[in-house]
């Protein structure tokens, strides 16, 4: 379950120490934009140590590494992968070749430290026009890829337009990303909402993202996590409906019916799949009691 993913600066020991208590489903330890060039080495070692010692149990660990156009990314991987992060997030991913080069390096590092090959997943950050255009080839480029993540700040700079709260300018990029991700059978994660204090605006933005099919949303401000979690959690109504779906199927089995209807609609495979997703998410969020 990845409703919310929270960025944490990689060179900040105070924040790293408490990162797992902020209720985000995943934390993104940032070695890239949050770290000055002359501190890349320090951040890398700090994040590695934090991963080895702090045992973040309650959330998934993502590490955002420096771009393949820098001299840092290989050192990043060599230091971090043995410490066992769940996911690596490369930035400004432009196409499948980028992923191939990255995956090869990850494999080499996993091999050299005796890890299971393929254990480390990849969540590419698409934040350029060419990246968004290549969303599908990127999504299918490697088995390690578990989703696509949209970065609207850099993207709008590339598109030469203004980034707005309403988000009309990134509407195509959002739906394109979701389309490519789902076509590849992976998830899609939405860009952060950048106004720390506008919680109304955040809610609108998160609801929009969910309605477009995103699986979750990233945040740069911990205050946004509760709202994002709420918006991307199944509602009581969703859960009730999902339970009804399975109850109707059970009922149908008992009566020997082949096809079953619920609330005037035939229950087909997509409905069952969606209902199962809802119950799985509900269980993860609320515990077994809810069912």
């Amino acid at each position: 379950m990845r409703r919310s993913l929270l960025f944490l600066p990689g060179n900040n020991p105070g924040m790293l120490g408490n990162g797992d208590t902020l209720d985000a489903d995943g934390i993104i330890l940032d070695l890239e934009d949050a770290v000055a060039p002359n501190e890349k080495d320090a951040a890398r070692i700090l994040v590695r140590n934090a991963l080895q010692t702090l045992h973040y149990k309650a959330c998934e660990i993502i590490v955002r590494i420096n771009g393949l156009d820098t001299s840092y990314w290989q050192d990043d991987l060599e230091a971090i992968i043995p410490a066992g992060p769940d996911i690596i997030m490369p930035t400004k991913v432009s196409g499948a070749d980028y992923i191939h080069e990255l995956a090869a390096k990850i494999t080499a590092v996993e091999k050299s430290c005796g890890m299971e090959i393929g254990k480390t997943k990849v969540l590419p950050l698409l934040e350029t026009a060419v990246g968004v255009e290549n969303a599908y080839p990127i999504a299918i480029a490697d088995k390690r890829i578990i989703g696509l993540f949209l970065g609207a700040e850099d993207l709008t700079a590339d598109l030469r337009c203004k980034r707005t709260k309403e988000g009309q300018e990134i509407f195509y990029a959002r739906t394109r990303l979701v389309m490519a991700a789902r076509a590849a059978g992976v998830d899609a994660y939405d860009t952060p909402f950048t106004d720390a204090n506008d919680l109304e605006g955040l809610r609108k933005d998160a609801i929009l993202a969910r309605s477009l099919g995103f699986s979750g949303k990233t945040a740069i401000n911990p205050r946004h996590i509760d709202c994002i979690n709420e918006v991307f959690s199944p509602s009581q109504a969703d859960i009730e409906y999902a339970k009804e779906v399975f109850a109707a199927i059970e009922e149908g089995k008992k009566l020997g019916k082949g096809a079953v209807a619920l609330r005037g609609k035939m229950i087909d495979k997509p409905i069952v799949a969606r209902a199962q997703q809802v119950l799985d998410a509900a269980k993860a969020i609320y515990g077994g009691d809810i069912l």
Binding site: G17, N18, T21, L22, D23, L54, P222, R223, D226, Y286, G287
Partner: protein, 468 residues
């Protein structure tokens, strides 16, 4: 007739202050106070010595008291709270007699029942007439409520009002009446407004403090106390203040009409009053300008005396009716005893203030704190000194879990049912140790540098000097 003295020295002389006597001060001018220093300087100049100072609180601005102690002018200190730089000085053992620490409820109780005899009380008053009718609500050095001055004014042998805003007789909106005042002294300035009150109290942005605040409010909801008639007290620090803000949102959403908020009052609590969440503010101390303005203008916002607030020997006091209180701590041990008298290194910092009083009175007393703060765990095996006994502390709320006192299984069940992350305090302690690593606890010598007097007058613990 006029009680106006020509100078502070003249008033002191007329009061008959002699060596060995006790003088008292309130702390409503906080870290902007000029009066205590002025009085001690004057007393020193007059050649007096061996004076005991009973001040409801002492702040870093009162650092000159150290010189007076070294010179023998001051030989005894009694207070409810001491700030960190001052506390550090006292921790080096400059005072021969142990400091006497009381609570905000115990201090007026002892003054009123005679245990704490005050020879001369100095009442710094932002506004006064020449007969001593005075108030803190108006004046260039306004401080709002004078809650901690009342017992002194009523019971001291002699009372000297010190003001920088003399008005024509009679001051009608007085807090302290002329009937107990002996002399009035006018000075150019009783204090620095910037140190007296904060401009605006702003809410913390620290995500950990905010999370703890959210948990605290969820605890209050789960306890069943949050319904019409609910009463509440909170501190002014990080998570405590944020909790007030979250509580307001919940109360507005669920249309809950609380009865009163009390304590040190900030603009956040005024917001709650004005939004209709509560029907009254019982104000023993104002922390910011919004609080002072509300006290002046809103009849639902009442000044109360410290005795009314928290004295256990009054026929009743406001903490007796309190539903929930949110408090801080330096450390809390496995028996839920709380230390608010020292910092983590064993140096004097703080004091009970109203901590023990509120914890004793409230139906739900919660300590809020991050589990570890800059490698210092909040939970320890045994506190360095007991400020508030564990029997009165119900809950510890941290960002890594909520511990409930075993004597409150009722609360534990309610919290668990509400899905709150309840853990034992031993588990929190183990987690804290895991995070910070092995450490050597602070070592103290046998020298007693302070006595901690609980609100009922008994000595609950002592503070020993730290070994360097």
């Amino acid at each position: 007739m006029s009680k106006l003295a020509n100078s502070l020295e003249e008033a002191i002389r007329s009061s008959g202050l002699k060596n060995g006597m006790t003088i008292s001060f309130h702390h409503h001018l906080r870290n902007g106070d000029h009066v205590l220093n002025l009085v001690l300087d004057t007393i020193a100049k007059m050649g007096l010595a061996d004076i005991t100072v009973n001040a409801s609180s002492l702040f870093d601005i009162h650092m000159p008291i150290i010189e007076h102690i070294k010179n023998g002018v001051v030989t005894g200190v009694e207070t409810d709270y001491m700030s960190s730089a001052l506390g550090r000085e006292f921790s080096s053992g400059i005072l021969k007699k142990p400091i006497i620490f009381r609570t905000h409820g115990g201090r007026p109780s002892d003054i009123i029942n005679g245990k704490s005899h005050i020879d001369v009380a100095f009442v710094a008053a932002p506004t006064s007439d020449d007969m001593g009718n005075c108030t803190g609500k108006i004046g260039k050095s306004a401080c709002g409520s004078l809650g901690y001055a009342f017992a002194d004014a009523a019971c001291a042998d002699k009372v000297i009002v010190v003001t920088d805003n003399l008005v024509a007789y009679p001051l009608t909106d007085f807090s302290i009446a002329e009937t107990c005042v002996d002399y009035v002294v006018q000075v150019p300035s009783i204090g620095d407004p910037r140190g007296i009150v904060s401009g605006t109290t702003t809410m913390t942005k620290d995500p950990i403090a905010l999370k703890i605040a959210k948990y605290a409010v969820k605890c209050i909801q789960a306890s069943g106390l949050l319904k019409d008639g609910f009463s509440f007290q909170t501190g002014a620090g990080g998570a405590s203040l944020a909790a007030a803000a979250y509580l307001k949102d919940v109360m507005l959403e669920k249309k809950i009409k609380g009865s009163y908020v009390m304590g040190g009052i900030t603009g956040y609590l005024v917001d709650m009053l004005e939004a209709g969440c509560f029907q009254a503010i019982m104000d023993v101390q104002c922390f910011d300008i919004k609080a002072i303005n509300s006290l002046q203008n809103n009849p639902k916002h009442r000044e109360v005396t410290a005795e009314h607030y928290a004295s256990p020997t009054a026929k009743s006091c406001i903490v007796d009716s309190l539903d929930a209180v949110i408090l801080g701590a330096t450390e809390i041990d496995l028996n839920f005893n709380v230390n608010v008298h020292t910092d983590s290194n064993g140096y004097i910092m703080g004091g009970a203030g109203g901590h023990s009083d509120a914890a004793a009175g409230a139906k739900l007393a919660m300590i809020v704190a991050p589990l570890v703060r800059a490698r210092v765990p909040i939970v320890c095996e045994k506190v360095q000194c007991i400020s508030t006994p564990g029997s009165t502390v119900d809950v510890l709320v941290t960002q890594r879990g909520i511990a409930v006192n075993p004597n409150r299984n009722d609360l534990k069940e309610l919290f668990k049912k509400a899905g709150l992350p309840v853990v034992s305090i031993e588990e929190l302690y183990a987690k804290a140790k895991e995070i910070v690593g092995d450490y050597v606890p602070v070592q103290t010598s046998d020298k007693v540098i302070a006595k901690i007097i609980y609100r009922d007058g008994t000595e609950i613990d002592t503070i020993k000097q730290v070994k360097e």
